[in-house]
């Protein structure tokens, strides 16, 4: 399968399949987020039209930064979800549930941030430096 086809398939999963799964009878949020995560991964990890060393460098940097950002966001969200959780009371007495963002949500969040960073940096690569505004049109 070509990289363009993989990207289109990923976009179709995110834009069509995930909403369909979400409104289907008996749907679960985890099924929707699994589809979104899978689609976004297909978009991010498929090759670019010209997949050179700069693209690989930017993708690695974007993925590293995105993982740190999404992990920090996960910790913050989990803290809000569990701010009333008392380990002594809730674990021993089994009266509470420790809640967390799912792995699919973490992956989807990471992929969204990584894609945004990658395309932003790629856009910056297209811009001439302010000191030498010459020939980027060709």
């Amino acid at each position: 399968m070509s990289s363009a086809t993989t990207k289109r398939l990923g976009a179709a999963i995110v834009l069509v399949l995930a909403p369909v799964l979400h409104v289907a009878p008996g749907s679960t949020w985890i099924r929707t987020t699994a589809a979104i995560a899978a689609g976004l991964m297909m978009i991010f990890f498929s090759k670019e039209r010209i997949h050179d060393e700069r693209v690989q460098d930017l993708k690695l940097k974007a993925l590293s930064a995105a993982f740190s950002v999404s992990f920090a966001l996960t910790l913050i969200v989990n803290w809000f979800l569990n701010r009333d959780f008392d380990p002594r009371r809730d674990v021993d007495g089994a009266t509470g549930v420790l809640r967390s963002i799912s792995a699919f949500e973490l992956i989807a969040l990471t992929m969204v941030v990584a894609l945004a960073l990658f395309h932003y940096w790629r856009f910056q690569d297209s811009s001439p430096s302010s000191a030498e505004p010459e020939d980027v049109s060709a």
Binding site: R54, P128, V136, S137
Partner: protein, 63 residues
Amino acid sequence: MTNRLRELRAAKNWSQGELASRLGVSRQTINAIETGKYDPSLPLAFSIARLFGRSIEEIFQDR
């Protein structure tokens, strides 16, 4: 690292796109190298040097 890529390209009267296609990379990559945002790998630096008939040291200088 600084480089003379823009100057050498201008001397050959090549556009960024033309140089990019000769090297098998994207135009954005050439722009990133020329503007100092990105230092190329050794294989790409060798390809650039070979294309311009220069040594790597003549094109890329340590700051």
